[in-house]
């Protein structure tokens, strides 16, 4: 973990309520896709945890959804500096991907799949990405994933774009060796049930500190109590205990 100041390069709208911010700063502590950063905002007591979408040299890309006052304020920023904790969370393990990993992202669960896809492709893997949204106007990053060289499938719940249905409907058509996923909990559960291989899933929870000190985001797993911010956010399918 590292605390440092990042300079906002740009901040653009990708879809309704969804923004992409690029920041310049010390990215040296970001060591794995699936990690997150925790951003301090003026007038907000707690930091805002946001997943890492991409890192290129000293440029960090995050994609976030406006859900409250903090992210609303972020969406209006055009420049300036932000105090950010980087290198938080365990991130995805690439060593168990096999030759044909599939990546499933739902909504703002899509961004962490980008750096993951990039790194898996760099290792020579054949990567399939399934991006799930509610409707056509929410779709983002399809072209970016295609540009990386992934096979990309898009699903929308209402069928207004791509395959009608959920990411699990697209998963049926894919042959894969391991899955990686990030998205809302109902989606994670559905992927858990539908998947036929080992896999890794990234969880979300309201956090206090984001670095393992406050026990605010604990969960029960088959391998003991875990802090989503520190021992997660990525959990292995085999250790997940669904409580409801």
């Amino acid at each position: 973990m590292k605390q440092s100041l990042f300079e906002i390069i740009d901040n653009t709208r990708l879809a309704p309520g969804v923004y992409k911010m690029r920041l310049q700063g010390d990215t040296s502590d970001i060591t794995a896709p699936g990690q997150f950063v925790n951003i301090q905002l003026d007038g907000m007591f707690l930091r805002r945890p946001i997943s890492v979408c991409d890192v290129q040299g000293d440029v960090l890309t995050i994609i976030y959804k406006v859900v409250g006052k903090g992210t609303e304020a972020m969406s209006k920023m055009t420049g300036g500096k932000l105090d950010i904790l980087t290198g938080l969370g365990n991130g995805y393990d690439l060593t168990v991907a096999g030759e044909k990993p599939v990546l499933l992202g739902g909504g703002v669960g899509v961004p962490p799949m980008y750096l993951l896809a990039k790194q898996l492709l760099a290792q020579g893997k054949k990567v399939t990405v399934i991006l799930g949204f509610n409707k056509a106007e929410e779709v983002f990053y399809e072209a970016e994933f295609k540009a990386l060289g992934c096979q990309v499938l898009v699903t929308t719940v209402d069928g207004s774009y791509g395959i009608k249905g959920f990411v699990t409907d697209a998963l049926k058509e894919v042959e894969y060796t391991h899955f990686y996923t990030c998205g809302p909990e109902p989606m994670l559960k559905a992927v858990y049930r539908a998947s036929t291989t080992s896999g890794q899933m990234s969880f979300e929870e309201r956090m206090g500190c984001g670095f393992g000190a406050c026990m605010g985001c604990s969960c029960k797993t088959l391998t003991g109590y875990k802090r989503i911010c520190k021992d997660g956010p990525v959990m292995r399918k085999e250790e997940i205990l669904w409580e409801n």
């Binding site: 930091r47 309201r206 206090g208 500190c209 393992g212 000190a213 109590y225």
Partner: protein, 303 residues
């Protein structure tokens, strides 16, 4: 005595800055960031007789200038704390440490304190009779002078180490509780624990926190803490540790002027993991600015 040093229940601290229990884990997460031996000491995560997962999530809600938590005393239980956490802590913290203890019955407190009494690393026992997030225990001992005295007496029987009672602000008369603890043998009083609070999510019209209510902390509660530290410090002879919303060196000085011998820093650590280090670095400047030569001379200076 040095410029920053204070004496807490017969043990000299290099400085009065103490990370508060529950905001600093067992120290080693922070030890990766800076040398935590710069701290006066720290109060480790609240420990109970048996392991506890704590409350369901969400456990955290944000507020203006603060936060609410309802962690519910998640900890691995005293046996594991002694077997696993303290040895790990020993590698990164070489000073005497403060153990924070909670319970659900008077016997629980005595049992856990007796086990921790045997640990050389532990120099103070901070007995939490003020956790707002557990049912049937915790705060219920700290809202009744008789019950608080009973816990104090039971703990005093099993240890020779200084016993500090950590009090709840969720009472009508904090002074009567503090005095009852002192009369029962408490060697110190620490206050305040969190204020019982609640947030409701306008989107789903439900409490934000799964436990509905939780403990409100952060800079918003600082004035309440200063007031209660002042009241208690003026009513008891034993040393008082002041806490509640402390987030900068000026707050430390203010707490000490109110009567605190040492000062705990809580929620600030969660927002800025370097909070305690930064406060320590800034203390000499603030002391110079206000003409303070040694911190020990200002304790209770505000009359």
């Amino acid at each position: 005595m040095g410029k920053l040093s204070v004496n807490l229940c017969g043990i000299e601290l290099d400085n009065p800055v103490i990370p508060a229990s529950g905001t600093f884990g067992y120290g080693y997460e922070f030890a990766q960031l800076y040398d935590i031996n710069c701290l006066g000491t720290f109060s480790f995560k609240g420990t109970t007789k048996d392991p506890r997962f704590g409350n369901p999530t969400p456990r955290i809600a944000e507020c203006t200038a603060g936060m609410i938590n309802a962690v519910g005393l998640q900890n691995p239980g005293v046996d594991k704390v002694i077997a696993e956490e303290l040895p790990k802590l020993k590698k990164c913290f070489h000073k005497p440490v403060m153990a924070n203890v909670s319970g659900f019955a008077v016997e629980d407190y005595a049992y856990t304190c007796e086990r921790l009494d045997a640990c050389e690393q532990v120099s103070w026992l901070e007995v939490n009779v003020s956790c707002p997030n557990v049912h049937g225990g915790g705060m219920s001992f700290g809202t009744d002078p008789k019950a608080a005295a009973e816990v104090t007496a039971a703990v005093k029987k099993v240890t020779k180490k200084p016993v500090i009672l950590k009090l709840s602000p969720n009472v009508t008369d904090i002074v009567s509780i503090a005095k009852a603890c002192e009369d029962a043998g408490a060697d110190g009083i620490s206050l305040i624990n969190t204020l019982l609070g609640m947030r409701i999510d306008l989107k789903n019209k439900k409490p934000v926190i799964a436990n509905k209510m939780g403990g409100f902390s952060g800079s918003a509660i600082f004035p309440v803490a200063v007031r209660m530290v002042y009241q208690v410090a003026n009513a008891v002879k034993v040393p008082v540790i002041g806490m509640g919303g402390v987030s900068c060196a000026e707050d430390v000085v203010e707490m000490m002027l109110a009567g605190a011998t040492a000062v705990e820093v809580g929620a600030a650590n969660l927002v800025n993991p370097y909070a305690c280090r930064d406060i320590l670095a800034d203390l000499p400047r603030v002391m110079d600015k206000y003409g303070i030569n040694t911190l020990s001379e200002i304790i209770g200076g505000a009359k």
